[in-house]
Amino acid sequence: MTAPRRRINFGFDRFSGAYLWVLFIVVFGVWTPSLFLTSSTLHSVASQEAIAAMLGIAVLVPLVAGAYDLSVGSVINLSTIVVVVLQTSHHWGMWPAIFVAIGVSVVIGVVNGFLVVKLRVNSFIATLGMATVVTAIQEIVSGESQPLPPVSHAWNALTQTKVFGFQIVVLYLIILAFIVWWALEHTPVGRYLYAVGGNPEAARLSGVNVDKWTWVAMIASSTICGIAGVFYASLTGPSLTFGSSLLLPAFAAAFLGSTQLKPGRFNVWGSMLAIYVLATGVKGLQLVTGKQWLNDMFNGVALVGAVAFAVWRQRVAGSKPTAAPEPSEAEAQATGPGGAGSTREAVPASQHATAAGPDPAHVQSTAQ
């Protein structure tokens, strides 16, 4: 193709995260080089965020297909408890325990898919309900007390081996991200998922089996959570509550990622970038100030700020209208975005009963 390529190749809209990352590294590197510019900072940030990043990938898959999975926090928690309880209370071997923990997660994904596809419950509601149910199951399984961590060399070695100084869980994350990236970007499956997320009716009329792929996306999400739960248990030990605290960061990563690399589209590497940019900033500030609340503050501010920035950038560029006409101009009927903007908004909103369909464009429009 000799056709003109997209004009912006290294523009701020696609790579704002990367520039921000460089900025953080430079600022904190200058500020507190002895603490920040060390390999241990690098290694600890990488492994601390690995599980959250896996959850980010888990929520991303259904989001691509236009569905929310809010049960990810509960599923990862249940998986953690199951894999530990089976080993410590029931004296199962490590591999059977892992197998069952992931199997349980797959089943939850199947149920989620059933609720969404067959019973036509809105995915937001279905998975929100499911999250609560799964939390209850987790309490039954754990007997409401935190189980002891399994004691075995193989169990610890699962995630605590080092590769080039990094915990091996970082490598697992990279492998997982690579697989999901491949599936979403380089296989027909991914194309179908994006089509379903973009416009389910048009996808159906193009011969795409919308129900099947929605279901597959829900199962994939839960499965990834199950795997991530096993890693968490091995890495950190069992916890009854950590899952819910990962839910917002996971969605933040997915939505923030949709403003990066491929703006307007949920994408794996954008989410990875987002999660590590935030983690770097938080880490740097914590090293400088020693304050723990920075994490929440930073994540929230960065999410809103980055999305607002992307919206502004796109509006100035004008090449991709996403802005909706302002209500105050109904009278003058000032020109709206013609087909483009309104469709991006209207289609997912009407096809999925939620007011806020998980379309990145929607998030950006709403941000105005």
Partner: protein, 526 residues
């Protein structure tokens, strides 16, 4: 800006309602509008015509403060300079816009629609009904309609609704009077008999000294309405001419160059050996469809006509499986097609272009390439990758074949103009090499040039042995391309017209149930 310049333009403002100087807008390096100059005097009706993608909507969006143009140009409204990218500025200077989507609330009265943005006559926070009604009546009479303001907007005719929107737009704001009214294809969805009423409304607006920019695809209206006409092609102004100095043929030539004549000639030259039956539809029933049977042969181009509600809008979707079928049989080359299973129909090489490309035709958030290839990804899938280069080159070749502009296969579908989007969706189905190609309103909202191009492709598909079935509310279109026209009424086929019988009059007559026009009246079993 120097004082001299502002004085000069203040003087110019007395002469022009709108003054556009060397307005340029580039999207991602592609010029959408190049150095446009345009002036409209107060009270002048100025028509703006051009194919889809010629830059008309870019002009409107700049005027509305939605797009910021490239530096260099300027726009003055009533002599005041428009601030780029500011809808507030546009509104404050007196620009008003009436779109196809009127932005009226059907469930409210005319009165409420007129004043909902403010302006009710109130005392102590209570709306004074009588005073408001009188004000509403005055506003309506300004635009030449006489209806009770208490009537619900939902009960009005399309032309009356447009008039209400115009009346609302004509309201003066605190910041000043209305100087420029832009109409963006207001008649595109109006029935013919309502167009005249709307044109009256527009004349009434102009008569009040407001400059009118009138954007349309319907050339006939220009001749009865406008004083001057500006023609855009590929973002450039081809000409601004007084309407009195051109005729229809000359205007069409300005619009599309020679393209139209060639393509149209081909459309008319209908031909082909008819092959064996490809599509069989037997006793098809569905909501609003009451036992339809017909057979289509290879090479056929069959039209489906009928008024809204006759079953014309849903029959093709029902055959394909987009909408549920309650009974009957559909078969392609002898293979029965299951109801409500588009993927199954596609396996038998049945293709279906839905009527609304935004709602059900295209995935606007995906690129043109991804939309085009979605119908069949198998040729590009070699484990473990989708071969993007193969995909891109195939889509690029379709772009060339259908003359899609701009030729950017990686751009989002949403960034293309309507006609080009439709071409891309055409390509999506043509690449399957369909045996049966069903098209619902294939050229609605598409400009003249793209329409000819699409018709040309449709004839090509038939020549390659497909049975092509076109459902259209545009009788002219059916007359131009079909060998056979089925007219639906009340969910049944009431007429099966073959070559010699296909005329606009005949199609409309049968559709309305008035029978054939008097001149060709015939006895039918009723």
């Amino acid at each position: 800006m120097t004082t001299g310049a502002s004085e000069r333009s203040a003087a110019a403002g007395l002469r022009f309602a709108l003054e556009v100087r060397s307005l340029t807008k580039t999207f991602a390096g592609i010029p959408a509008l190049s150095a446009l100059d345009l002036t409209i005097e107060p009270g002048e009706i100025h028509a703006l015509v051009g194919e889809n993608g010629s830059g008309k909507s870019t002009v409107i969006k700049i005027l509305a403060g939605y797009h910021r143009p490239d530096p260099g140009g300027e726009v003055r409204v009533g002599g005041e300079r428009l601030v780029w990218g500011s809808a507030e500025s546009s509104s404050a200077l007196g620009c008003r816009f009436v779109h196809q989507d009127l932005g009226l609330v059907d469930g409210l009265s005319i009165l409420d629609n007129l004043f909902i943005g403010g302006g009710f006559s109130c005392r102590f926070g209570t709306v004074l009904d009588r005073a408001s009604r009188a004000a509403a009546r005055a506003m309506l009479s300004q635009v030449g309609v006489d209806v009770d303001p208490r009537q619900l907007v939902g009960t009005l005719s399309p032309a009356q609704r447009t008039a209400v929107a115009v009346a609302r737009a004509m309201k003066d704001t605190a910041s000043g009077a209305v100087k420029l009214m832009v109409f963006d294809e207001p008649t595109a969805t109006l029935p013919d008999n309502e167009v005249n009423q709307l044109l009256q409304t527009i004349r009434a607006v102009a008569a009040r000294g407001v400059g009118v920019l009138y954007v349309t695809h319907r050339l006939d209206e220009i001749f009865v309405l406008a004083k001057n006409v500006t023609v855009l092609r590929d973002g450039r102004k081809v000409a601004t001419v007084p309407v009195a100095s051109v005729d229809r043929k000359k205007l069409v030539n300005l619009l599309v160059g020679s393209e139209l004549d060639d393509a149209h000639a081909e459309s008319v030259a209908v031909h082909t050996e008819r092959g064996g039956p490809v599509l069989e539809v037997e006793a098809l029933t569905a909501p609003r469809i009451d036992g339809v049977s017909f057979t289509a042969r290879a090479g056929d181009i069959i039209g489906v006509a009928g008024i809204t509600g006759s079953g014309r809008e849903t029959i093709l979707g029902t055959i394909f499986g987009a909408q549920p079928r309650t009974g009957g049989r559909v078969a392609v080359n002898g293979v029965a097609i299951r109801p409500s299973r588009p993927s199954h129909a596609m396996r038998s090489l049945m293709a279906y272009l839905p009527p609304d490309r935004k709602i059900s035709g295209g995935v606007m958030t995906l690129s043109a390439r991804e939309n085009c290839s979605l119908s069949n990804l198998a040729p590009f899938w070699r484990v473990p990758w989708l071969r993007r280069r193969m995909e891109r080159s195939e889509v690029a070749s379709w772009f060339a074949r259908l003359d899609v502009r701009p030729p950017r296969v990686e751009a989002d579908l949403a960034t293309f103009s309507g006609g080009n989007q439709q071409k891309i969706l055409f390509a999506k189905w043509l690449r399957l090499g369909p045996s049966v190609f069903l098209l619902d309103e294939p050229t609605q909202g598409v400009d003249v040039g793209a329409k000819a191009q699409l018709h040309h492709q449709l004839l090509g598909a038939a020549a390659h042995g497909a049975a092509v079935i076109v459902s259209s509310s545009d009788a002219d279109e059916l007359v131009a391309i079909c060998h056979r026209v089925l007219v639906l009424r009340g969910g049944r086929i009431v007429a099966d017209l073959s070559k010699g019988e296909i005329t606009v009059a005949r199609i409309s007559g049968e559709s309305l149930g008035a029978g054939a026009p008097a001149s060709e009246q015939e006895v039918r079993v009723g």
